[in-house]
């Protein structure tokens, strides 16, 4: 592996780390805002617990779906680009 490649890989890893931390914090904020409304007890109520669980799981399912569509679109864009670059 050459130096350029190693540097790219390290940058990629850092980016992924930063991304997942941000996703995590954003998710906690979103699910807390949408699910937790009362403060009569200090632990999550059954309803809040279920809501937070569904919220987090649903978000990951959603992100996976967006990832699939996103992948299809970028692949198509790549293919179109290749087609345009090839001589007719």
């Amino acid at each position: 592996m050459d130096q350029d490649q190693a540097r790219m890989l390290a940058a990629l890893e850092e980016m992924q780390m930063r991304d997942s931390l941000r996703t995590f914090n954003g998710l906690v904020e979103r699910c807390f805002t949408d699910c937790v409304t009362g403060f009569r007890s200090k632990s999550l109520t059954d309803g809040e617990d279920k809501c937070v669980t569904a919220c987090a799981e649903k978000f990951f399912n959603h992100a996976r779906r967006v990832g699939q569509r996103f992948g299809e679109l970028s692949q198509k864009q790549q293919e179109d680009l290749m087609k345009r670059m090839q001589p007719k």
Binding site: A11, M15, D34, A54, K58, H62, A63, R69, F70
Partner: protein
Amino acid sequence: MSGQQMELEAMADMFNKMVDQCFKKCVAEYRESDLSVGESTCVDRCVHKYWGAHQKVQDILQKQMQAGGPSARPM
């Protein structure tokens, strides 16, 4: 930062924004962990539209740059 790296970052940034936006616009409730049929349809359309808007703005930006040089300012 290399151009390749910048491009990668921009791509990832766009993807994250897309995930956020489409979740906000399409997911209505948290009763179940799975996306409903309606939510899934909405998400698919949302991704395509976000992508379309991205392309559109990119085209316009490119035209502006070509017309006024790199120092062209919007408005």
